[in-house]
Every structure is written in C-alpha cells, then in structure tokens.
Amino acid sequence: MSELYKVSSNPHIRSKVTTNGIMMSVIIALMPATGFGIFNFGPRALAVILVTVASTVLTEFLFGLYRKKMTITDLSAVVTGLLLALNLPVTIPLWMAALGGIFSILVVKMLFGGLGQNFMNPALAARCFLLISFPTAMTAFDCDAYTGATPLAALKAGEQVNIMEMVLGRTAGTIGETSVIAIIIGACFLILIGVIDLRIPGSYIVTFVLFVGIFGGHGFDPAFLTAQLAGGGLMLGAFFMATDYVTRPITVKGQYLFGIFLGIMTGIFRIFGPGSEGVSYAIILGNLLVPLIEKVTKPVAFGYGKGGKHHE
C-alpha cells in the first residue's frame, strides 16, 4: 500500500440541496397566493407585503452586522416576512406590520441563535404577538373590496356561506389565506420538486375533517366540511407553516403525530374556542411539543430490538 488514500470526516455524500435553494422554491411557491392577495385586496396589500418583508430583511441585516455573521443571503428572512404578510389583514397599519416583522426575526429567530435554532415558526409567533397586542386591528377585515365577517366567523354564527367564492378566494380574510386554489398550486409545486411531502399536511387535514365531522355539530355534511377546510388559514398553515423544516419533527412517525395533533387542536380552537380561527395557535403549540414528539418517536437503530435494547 504505497498510495495514501484521501481521508476526510463524514458526511461523505453531499446533497446539492441548499438552504438558499429551498427558501427560493418556497418563495416561488408562495407567489400564486401573494399575487391573488394583491389582485383581491388591491395595492394596499402590496404595501403591507413590501413593508413586512423589508422589516424582516432589514432586521436580519442589522443583527448580522452587530454579530459580524451575515446570514441574510439564505433568504429565510424573506420567506418569514412574506408568510407573515400573508397572515395579516390588509387594513393593518403599516407600522404594526413592521413591528411584527422585527419581532419575528429579532425575538423569535435571532435571539435564539438564528435559522435552525428557532423553537417556533417566526412568522406565526409574530402573528400571535400582533393578535394579542392589537386584537381590533388584527381582526378588522373590512376593506374596500369586502365588508363584513370572514366566512369562518359567519359559519360560526350559523349563517350561509358561498363555498365557490371561498375556494376561489373572493372573500374577506388575511392577505394570503383566502384563495385555496392559489395555495394548492404553490403546494403542488413544492411537493413535485420534493421540498415538502404530504405527511404533515395530509394527516393534519384528515384529522381536522374527522374532528369537525364528529364534534362540529353538522355531522359529515359535505358543504359544512368544505367550508371549514376552505375557510381561514388552514390550507396556508397546513402546507406552508406546519411543514417548516426547523419547527417540525424530523422523524417520520413524529410528523404524522404532529399533523394529528395540529388537526385536533385546530378543531378544538375552531369549534369550542371563543374565536372562529385557531390555526396559528395550534401550529405554535405543536412547535413547542416537537422535542417531545421526536423523543418519543426516535427510530430504533438497525440491530437493536424493541425499546432500543441491543440483541445479546
């Protein structure tokens, strides 16, 4: 053996997938929902989106300057800002949107160590922060295009809703949540290129349908179930928030468990809670349980028996 082999430490197999690439594909996948939001609610929606994205990116940039470690090129701040903007009502004062952006990046992400260390979804945490801080501004869905309650609130009050309009997205609501079709187009793109899979969204939606069917008081009435599915942030949450790489479980079983938990929690919030919506609270509660879920569902290594004990 005269020739010396090249010795290096693992990992030896490297994937071409980069954080940057994944974030870019998520941004592309969000474009249909964003575009529809701007079309639906007018130019002010664009202003809210721009302000939120600018505030998240700027916060990340300034924090990077301060810590002398620039992470702005991974585009995660853009995704957070975009997701946050899609979760805001169009009438929100712009400074509130900016405050939410700063909160999501500074408090939820950077102070815990940056991308990969945040224990809950920054965009959703910022949405809940704004929802608790400014309840009236965050639930005012009256704008030029629509007046009156969101379909979910109307549904909860026992009124009739137009399901066709809900699926298309011509209803009141936050900027990005109204159009099921636009969200599904983006989600299909992400699933096709392999960025997300159906484990979490699938188990989430199936559990939610079962829960609402059993406890919703309308039985498995297709019209009611479709309205519940198409209304509120369920689709946006299931495909874009719950599947966030950092805050979902990494084990396969854990992902199903996570989806089931989210479905049950969303059902409880919507049916038994005082408000008509509960997707964001359900997801950040689920985020908090992720370490526990991962601990319970840790796969057993090859060669080990049940309970992780080694064969004698």
Partner: protein, 264 residues
C-alpha cells in the same frame, strides 16, 4: 466600605435578587403590570425581609438547626400578617391590586433564601442591612419591569400619560407573555452593562454571602448539605472535623492499597 454599606450595594447591584439571583420570579412576573404595583410589592417585601432577617439573626443561637425552616416560616409569616393588616388599613387600593401576592410573600424564596444563606449565620446589624439591600434591589427591579410594561402596555408611567395621543398600546405587555419579554430584556441589558464595566476594570465579584456558591450546581457543599444531613447540628462547626475525618480515611485507604500491592 463599611459592612452595612457593603450589604446594601451587594443587594442592589452585585446580587440583585431579580436580575442576578433570579429569585422570587412568581411575584416578579405576576404583579408588575404597572410601576406602582411593582414598587408597592417591592417595598412590602423589603419591610418583611428586613425585619425577618433582623429577628432570625437575633434568634440564630436559639433556633435548633433541625427545625430552623419551620422557625423561619413562623417568623416570616408573623411579619407578613402584620404588614398585610397595615396595608389593608392604610393602603387598601394597593392591597386590592396586589391581592393574593401579599400573603404569598411568606413563601417568597428571596426571604427564605436570605434567612438561610445570610441571617442565620451573621450578626443582626449586617443582616438587617442585607435585608434592606436585597429589598431595595427587588423594589428597583420590580419598578423597572413595571414601568416598562406600563409604558408599552398602556402608554402611562405611574398612572401619568407620557406617550403622545397617537400611541397605540401594545397590549401583550400588560399580559403574562409581556412580563417574560421585559424581564429577559432587562436581564440582558444589565448583563451587557456589567460586561462593559468589567472590561473597564471594575470588580463585580460577589461578596461571599452564606455559601456564595451557585445553588444550581451545589451538590454537597454550601447550604444544601444541611437539608440532607440529619446530624448536621450546627453545621458550620462540624464541617472541619468531617473534612479531617475524610482525609484520615483517604490515607487509610491508601495504606490498604499499598499493602495489597505488596502482597501481590
């Protein structure tokens, strides 16, 4: 610096019960919805802390080590009762807004902690000033947290509007999550200031109070051993012979080992 002044400085800055020792978190987070509530809670605690420290220190030679915790609680509870009756009589508004947290001062860990760590083993006058210093530190911290939360949550400080009319209150700061945010930010801020001043050459070494070790990593030294060691008696006197004994045992063990080696 004389002993009394040193205790005051220690309580307010070096070992601030809220920002450094992280004790008494329950009232810290619960009652600081306004600066006034924070100040009221802090001063009430200070009165109890100073008096209980003084009396425990006076009685330290009479209280047997085995039953000292119940004895401390009885002394503290008496003072809390007195203070609560006084508050009810003269400051009913404050008493109402602090509610159940006044009787809960009995189980405030700052008070029990100072009794255990300082007053039980030090003379009365330094103990009194230790209580006052810790109480002032606690009041200062609670007033700061209360003021920030009141400012952001309602736009007022001590009940006076200070923000312009266009200010929209950020309601989360008036609620429980806001208390955690503000506490974390203030702790971070005071750590930052201390780090800077440390670099400038100012000493922030803690003055040994009680065992002066950190309680989290304390296993067998300091005060925790007194909880488990039933024969502790007056622990401080017994510590030395116990150490000598172990040294003797060690040397005996070594001798046995040597003998075994020789046999082999």
């Amino acid at each position: 610096m004389n002993k009394a002044g040193e205790r005051l400085y220690n309580g307010i800055v070096k070992e601030n019960p809220t920002f450094v020792l992280m004790l008494g978190m329950c009232p810290t987070l619960a009652v600081t919805t306004s600066a006034m509530n924070g100040l009221g809670m802090g001063l009430t605690t200070m009165a109890v802390l100073a008096l209980s420290n003084l009396f425990i220190s006076l009685l330290r030679k009479v209280i047997p080590a085995r039953v000292r915790i119940p004895a401390f609680i009885v002394i503290i509870a008496s003072f809390v009762t007195i203070v609560q009756l006084l508050l009810e009589a003269y400051l009913p508004q404050l008493n109402k807004s602090l509610g159940v947290y006044i009787p809960l001062i009995v189980v405030n860990c700052i008070i029990l902690g100072r009794a255990e760590a300082y007053a039980y083993s030090n003379p009365p006058i330094p103990s009194l000033f230790d209580g006052i210093g810790m109480g002032l530190g606690f009041s200062f911290a609670l007033t700061c947290i209360g003021a920030v939360r009141e400012l952001l949550g309602t736009g007022k400080v001590f009940g006076c509007s200070v923000m312009p009319d266009s200010f929209v209150p950020i309601r989360i700061f008036g609620q429980a999550p806001g208390a955690f945010f503000v506490l974390a930010m203030l702790v971070a801020l005071q750590n930052l200031i201390k780090e800077k001043r440390k670099k400038a050459g100012k000493s922030y070494e803690k003055i040994g109070s009680g065992c002066s070790e950190d309680c989290m990593n304390c296993s067998d030294k300091g005060c925790s051993r007194r909880f488990y060691d039933a024969d502790a008696g007056d622990s401080r006197k017994e510590e030395k012979p116990a150490e000598e004994k172990t040294e003797q045992e060690k040397s005996a063990d070594l001798e046995i080992l040597n003998l075994e080696k020789e046999e082999k």
